[in-house]
């Protein structure tokens, strides 16, 4: 008559399974539909967590479709940690092979954007770089090592990802262009914001992140993306608070 937590859990996520024996109402009769309170709590609370975590996906799909997707996802991929702020990491991969929504090719990248925005929101605080570090002689400048703030995230996409985000969250945003867009997410204070990167911009930030000096990062970037505009990239990085403390070659 004892109900193990394995039995309880199994019946919890599978509504077809019988309610475990040994669960009663207050007058010693089988609990029956009372068990559904727990079934419902689990699915509703996890669906709610996904709604909060994936605002772009929610906007794109609408409440009904999103909740149907969530009802399947939460059963296949329940959280692996009590930190609901991290829930849904597998959703992009899940969407890639989810047949009913496979006609919306950009959905997985949109889910990645939602995850990146959330990661940025909870990332460690960091003071933005002081722009005066760039007022130095050219040789010194080329040897500067810049660091991305912990809340700065670069996302590469084959879709017009930034345009898609704008269309869903900014009034009077233009229709997405038929172009690939890498996205820079930064968090000046508390609210992460996505920005479109120019061609080569993601490479450049990646090189900086990997510890390459300012000069070498530029050279490596223009080799792959000859149109890369360093001054535009630097001014975007400074204006959006993408950079934090820097290190010189010797430090």
């Amino acid at each position: 008559m004892s109900v193990s937590q394995a039995t309880f859990r199994s019946a919890l996520l599978d509504a077809e399974e019988a309610v475990p024996e040994g669960l009663l109402d207050g007058s010693d009769t089988p609990a029956g539909a009372r068990f559904s309170v727990y079934r419902n709590n689990v699915v509703v609370s996890l669906t709610e967590a996904l709604r909060t975590a994936f605002p772009l996906i929610y906007k794109l799909l609408g409440a009904q479709t999103f909740d149907r997707l969530a009802a399947i996802y939460v059963r296949q991929q329940p959280p692996s940690s009590p930190l609901m702020m991290h829930y849904g990491q597998e959703l992009p991969k899940f969407l890639q092979s989810f047949q009913p929504l496979s006609h919306i090719g950009y959905l997985p990248d949109c889910a990645r954007l939602d995850i990146a925005m959330r990661r940025s929101y909870h990332a460690k605080d960091a003071a933005p770089i002081n722009p005066s570090v760039f007022q130095t002689d050219p040789e010194e400048l080329m040897s500067l090592r810049l660091a991305l703030a912990p809340a700065t995230i670069v996302l590469r996409s084959d879709w017009p990802l930034h345009d898609i985000w704008r269309l869903n969250f900014e009034p009077d945003a233009p229709k997405p262009r038929a172009t690939a867009q890498d996205v820079l997410i930064t968090r000046p204070e508390f609210d992460p914001a996505p920005h479109a990167l120019q061609p080569g911009g993601a490479d450049w930030l990646q090189h900086l992140q990997n510890g390459m000096a300012f000069g070498s990062a530029h050279e490596a970037t223009i080799t792959a993306a000859p149109s890369f505009d360093l001054s535009a990239a630097l001014s975007q990085a400074l204006q959006t608070g993408a950079l934090t403390e820097f290190k010189t070659k010797d430090s």
């Binding site: 937590q5 009663l24 109402d25 709590n41 329940p78 702020m85």
Partner: protein, 284 residues
């Protein structure tokens, strides 16, 4: 007096509210009778950003209660050491006046089910929960409070009443208790018991905090009332009466109003805190 905190004074015997980020500005500008706040531990385990900044600012103005919802103290499996370490970090830097968790489980294997699931009350589960509480109190270096659950069903295998089970946990571990009178009302209604008798049997000397909150009304297969702990509505009159009944027996305690879903504008929640202040007045 309970010693729930090595560094900060105890929670005041006054109204508190479950903190919601949308109330940040209004709560600080116009707290009404609110002297303390409670936060869900798991929402403050990120590395930085707004949640931690808000918590630091709030801790300057209000006494703080950290309330865990993810430790799975009633779980069959050992406690999650990583999660315990995160709790230790949070409790370390935020120095709350109180730390509490639930008599429930939520983790099974590698899965976290995000609900407070029930356990049978047997000598075996009693020892397991006591061991887990010992482990928490040792890791955090302080006493914890354990909250009574809201029940929708019970276990045929249970051999202990919930109140005896909780009293024995207090005896074995030295933990304190968090008496949720809304949960008492829900469980009593759902299981056909007397809420007053439950409170009379409850080890009130160990109560370091009281919760009130709203619930939903449904019915079971046989048309019997089935109340659901939703924290999405005002506290109903019978729960305020039960609070008065408990306070008359226990003496003044910190009383928290919980409102987690369909969260109203601040003045509505503040008005609930004012009702809690009224309930506390005769007990002071």
């Amino acid at each position: 007096m309970l010693d729930n905190s090595p560094r900060a004074p105890n929670l005041p015997n006054a109204p508190g509210v479950g903190y919601k980020p949308q109330h940040f500005t209004d709560l600080r500008a116009d707290p009404g009778p609110v002297r303390w706040i409670e936060v869900h531990a798991e929402n403050y385990m990120g590395d930085g950003g707004r949640p931690l900044a808000q918590l630091r600012a709030l801790a300057d103005q209000f006494a703080l209660s950290v309330h865990g919802v993810g430790l799975s103290i009633g779980g069959e499996a050992p406690l999650d050491r990583d999660h315990l370490a995160r709790l230790k970090t949070l409790v370390g830097w935020s120095s709350p006046a109180s730390f509490s968790e639930h008599l429930a489980w939520s983790t099974h294997g590698a899965e976290f089910l995000n609900d407070l699931l029930p356990l049978p009350y047997t000598s075996e589960t009693l020892q397991r929960v006591a061991d887990h509480i010992d482990q928490v109190q040792t890791a955090l270096g302080r006493q914890m409070l354990l909250e009574n659950p809201s029940s929708y069903l019970c276990f045929a295998e249970s051999t202990w009443s919930e109140t005896d089970f909780l009293a024995e946990l207090v005896h074995r571990t030295g933990c304190g208790l968090l008496l949720d009178v809304n949960n008492v009302f829900i469980s009593a209604t759902n299981l056909g018991l007397s809420a007053e008798s439950y409170i009379e049997a409850f080890p009130l000397h160990a109560v370091g905090e009281i919760h009130v909150g709203g619930h939903d009304e449904d019915t079971d297969d046989h048309g019997a009332p089935l109340l659901i702990d939703s924290h999405g509505k005002p506290v109903v009159d019978p729960v305020w009466s039960l609070l008065a009944f408990a306070l008359a027996k226990s003496g003044p305690r910190p009383v928290l109003v919980e409102w987690d879903n369909d969260v109203p504008d601040w003045p509505v929640l503040r008005a609930e805190a004012e009702r809690a202040a009224l309930a506390l007045a005769p007990a002071q």
